[in-house]
């Protein structure tokens, strides 16, 4: 199996290149830390994220409450760990929706061309008529506030890049000889798409998905900050900031720490995404 060894060699070369990229490694370590903290939150801290203790409100960091307490005396450290679960869930599911819908649209549009291509791409143009965050906000405004609707909205708003990227990958691959050969020996459309077209598009998709994850987490926090996402007392980073804001003159910890959590999560995902782009998709340069 000459082909598979070639692929393995390619992959290990990529991983080596990725490990040499200091930014990507640092980013990966931070994001891994957040993910582990989110997964094992109940084992890391004894404090329940929604347990109130009014007499102990707005306290600074201490050995009991590592990051202090919020306006209801809830433990901020515990709320940030549990909030990480929500942020990661929102990020992964919304990017998953975008990837599934956008990817399928791009794949069919590029492969079949003609009417379907026109229809899908005009739909993508309409989605692009508003900047992503505004589109998500408008969708949530019509569906109603709530975390599920935020996931749907951000998922829809993220369709365009996946659809466009997938379509252009298909168009490039379609012209290659081995695809023509595959058509000639009578392979089905589905087989051609899955066996020949998709593997060629997988690297840019990984890059796009990583950067999309960062954007989705940032947007979700922004929507929750505006009161459109997770509702109190759910420990969500954006909503924690919004709820604690009126008390900022007394104690800034309940605002500062959730913000730092968002900031470092998004920054480290972007660092990993940048590194992945340099390693997996060298043709596209830094554009954003």
């Amino acid at each position: 199996m000459a082909k598979s060894t070639l692929q393995t060699r390619d992959r290990s070369k990529m991983i080596k290149q990725l490990l040499r990229n200091k930014k990507a490694v640092v980013g990966a370590v931070i994001i891994l830390g957040f993910a582990l903290g989110a997964i094992f939150a109940p084992f890391i801290t004894d404090h329940h994220p929604t347990h109130q203790n009014i007499r102990n409100r707005l306290q600074g960091p201490s050995s009991e409450n590592y990051l202090g307490t919020d306006q209801f005396g809830r433990d901020i450290f515990s709320r940030i760990l549990h909030g990480g679960r929500l942020s990661l869930r929102v990020g992964f599911t919304s990017v998953g929706i975008a990837l599934l819908i956008g990817g399928t649209m791009g794949l069919t549009a590029g492969y079949y061309g003609g009417f379907i291509d026109n229809l899908f791409m005009r739909f993508v143009d309409v989605l692009l008529a508003l900047p992503g965050f505004l589109l998500a906000l408008a969708i949530v405004a019509s569906l109603g506030a709530g975390l599920e609707n935020v996931i749907i909205a951000i998922g829809i708003a993220n369709i365009p890049p996946f659809a466009r990227m997938m379509r252009s990958s298909v168009l490039t691959v379609k012209e290659l000889d081995y695809v023509a050969a595959s058509v000639a020996i009578g392979s089905s459309d589905v087989r051609i798409l899955l066996r020949h077209v998709l593997p060629n598009a997988i690297n840019p998709i990984i890059v796009l998905a990583t950067l999309g994850l960062a954007g989705a987490i940032l947007s979700a926090a922004g929507l929750s900050f505006l009161g459109m996402g997770a509702q109190p007392p759910t420990p969500e980073w954006g909503s924690m900031i919004a709820m604690a804001r009126p008390f900022i003159r007394v104690a800034h910890y309940p605002v500062t720490f959730p913000g730092l959590a968002i900031f470092f999560t998004v920054l480290s995902l972007n660092m990993v995404g940048d590194g992945l782009r340099d390693a997996l998709d060298p043709r596209s340069s830094h554009t954003t």
Binding site: R122, L130, L134, S142, L226, F263, H286, T288
Partner: protein
Amino acid sequence: MWRYILRRVVMLIPVLIGISIFAFLMIHLTPGDPARLMLGEGAPTEQLEALRTRMGLDQPLPVQYVTWLGSALQLDFGRSLRSNKPVILELRERLPATIELALAAVAIALAIGIPVGVISAVKPNSIFDNVAMVGALAGVGMPPFWQGIMLILIFSVSLGWLPSSGRMGGVEYIILPAITLGTAATASVARMTRSTMLEVLSQDYIRTARSKGLSRGRVIIRHALRNALIPVITIVGLQFGFLMAGAVLTETIFAWPGIGRMMVEAINAKDFPIVQGTIMMFAVMYAFINLVVDIAYAFLDPRLRTQYN
């Protein structure tokens, strides 16, 4: 050139129709009876009926859409449910504040982003370059709502140097909102300038210019930067769109009376005519900016210019 512009304008029409369908359908996508949503649970039946008739909610959907679009084309988006003022008047009142804020943010992005990008490209992998590029990445990942609150905490609450909210006319009011809104754009401009400068600096004509005896500074400014800035213009244009989106959060934090904050207030109050009006306003502005950017791009790039002449 004119043919190119005409084609771009014609391409906008289906997009704007699509967005108008979405804006129109918003009321109907919301679960529940729109009239009851707007008037609240305990509203008497006569009032509900009156509102339905006034807004044409008793007509079939396509008829409603055509009527709505017909008025919208004449800039009539109905009246605000709260203030009862025409939506277009409210928009006109609030729009200057948003444009002012976006322009200030773009100014910051260009004034800081371009020099940082150029220096980074001239000295790639230097300490300056590394610090600047990590900083730029941090700028992209900064949650604007949090950054705004932190700036207020430092410069208004602790130091007392700048006002924390409002738009009372003085320059001091716009500084913190403009920095908050401009951070991500500054970061993007710096990254884009760096990567295009790096590309341009490796071109043959740069070597030629250097070898015919021109100074390094002159080559960088006159030969390289001029060409490197063309893609940067695209980014600035796109950023202008993202700035309008970011305005929603920034204006909310700083109580800046623009259309972004107006949209959030209207969503919370279920004031749908205002929400529809702001969405259409944002979409038209965004389309117009993208159009101008594309035309400017075609005009500035000699290859595209000759292609269409």
